[in-house]
């Protein structure tokens, strides 16, 4: 389910899209699994962080995907620092 908040993509060239908490939760979940977090812990961290980010996003008319990534990493760092690092840096590997 999308909120009425637009997400502006990183390059600015691709179309804006509505903020989708499910998509965000999936990406956080995957980042946790990528650093070998157990499945249950990954799911729980993804749910909590998605909830916090959704509250933050709801106060804005539009956000950039970079800002979302930064805020996710900030919150995820409390639960799983390795996953937070990976989530923030996975687009900066290549």
């Amino acid at each position: 389910m999308g909120l009425a908040v637009d997400v502006v993509k990183r390059s600015g060239k691709r179309k804006k899209e509505a903020f989708n908490p499910d998509k965000l939760q999936r990406s956080i979940h995957r980042a946790c699994l990528s650093v070998r977090t157990p499945e249950g812990e990954a799911e729980s961290a993804a749910k909590r962080v998605t909830h916090l980010v959704t509250l933050w996003v709801a106060t804005k008319p539009a956000v950039t995907s970079h800002d979302i990534r930064r805020v996710v990493a900030f919150h995820l760092d409390r639960y799983h620092p390795d996953a937070a690092y990976y989530y923030l840096h996975q687009r900066r590997i290549l």
């Binding site: 840096h89 900066r92 590997i93 290549l94």
Partner: protein, 241 residues
């Protein structure tokens, strides 16, 4: 060729291989591919196969590039390598060495490399969608080709040096070059296969990226200047032009 000449030639090939080993593109692609595979909860056995396929692809392409360069020079210049060709090889090594010092990593966080963004996007996309050892093999081949801009200098100089050796030593030189150049990739592959976290590996790479950049650029400069003084200045002084 005296035993001393053989030792010097193999040492030059070894230094060129160490320089090649300092380049990071294949390792970045392997890290990305493994991260995506783990995120999809890929079974450990399949992940190990994918890493093996990727490393095998990178090894095959390195052997092919070095053998092709040596074959090309051997066919075009069957009797003697002109000093001009050595000079071009040394110039390329020095030029690429300085470029590596200045440009290899982009000036931002992470380990983003100064390669054409089209290549980077393609590799990122393929790393994300790779699901089998065969696809990983193809990605390994492509990742080495994508780094050609930086690795062509050590490959050209090694090929020129290998032509001075006997056929058995040429084969040994190619295997030694490939083994040394691919050693970091194999070590990272083994670490990931044995359960090390991608984030730890990436943190280490990020913390040491400037040292690796300095080593790669410095290695190329030393290689270029040494070969220039050994093969061009000395040959010119002896009147072998």
């Amino acid at each position: 060729m005296t035993p001393d000449d053989t030792t010097i030639s193999l040492s030059i090939v070894l230094l060129a291989a160490l320089t090649h080993a300092s380049f990071q593109l294949s390792i970045s692609v392997l890290t990305l591919m493994s991260g995506h595979a783990l995120g999809r909860q890929t079974a450990r056995r399949r992940l190990v196969n994918m890493i093996g396929g990727f490393a095998f692809g990178a090894i095959v392409m390195t052997i092919l590039l070095l053998s092709f360069a040596a074959y090309l020079f051997g066919s075009l210049l069957p009797y003697n390598i002109p000093l001009l060709v050595w000079a071009v090889g040394c110039g390329a090594a020095v030029g690429v060495g300085i470029s590596v010092w200045l440009f290899y990593y982009r000036r931002e966080l992470g380990t983003v490399l100064w390669i054409p963004r089209g290549f980077a996007r393609h590799l990122e996309s393929r790393a994300k969608h790779t699901r089998s050892a065969t696809e990983a093999f193809s990605l390994g081949l492509t990742s080495v080709v994508s780094e050609l801009l930086f690795i062509f200098a050590p490959i050209i100089l090694s090929a020129l040096i290998l032509l001075r050796l006997s056929p058995e030593l040429q084969l040994f030189g190619i295997l030694m070059y490939t083994t040394v150049a691919m050693l970091p990739l194999m070590i990272i592959g083994l670490l990931i296969s044995n359960g090390r976290k991608i984030s730890r590996i990436q943190k280490w790479r990020e913390a040491n990226k400037h040292f690796l950049q300095f080593a790669a650029g410095g290695g190329l400069l030393i290689l270029g200047v040494y070969i220039y003084s050994e093969f061009i200045i000395v040959a010119s002084a002896l009147g072998r032009m």
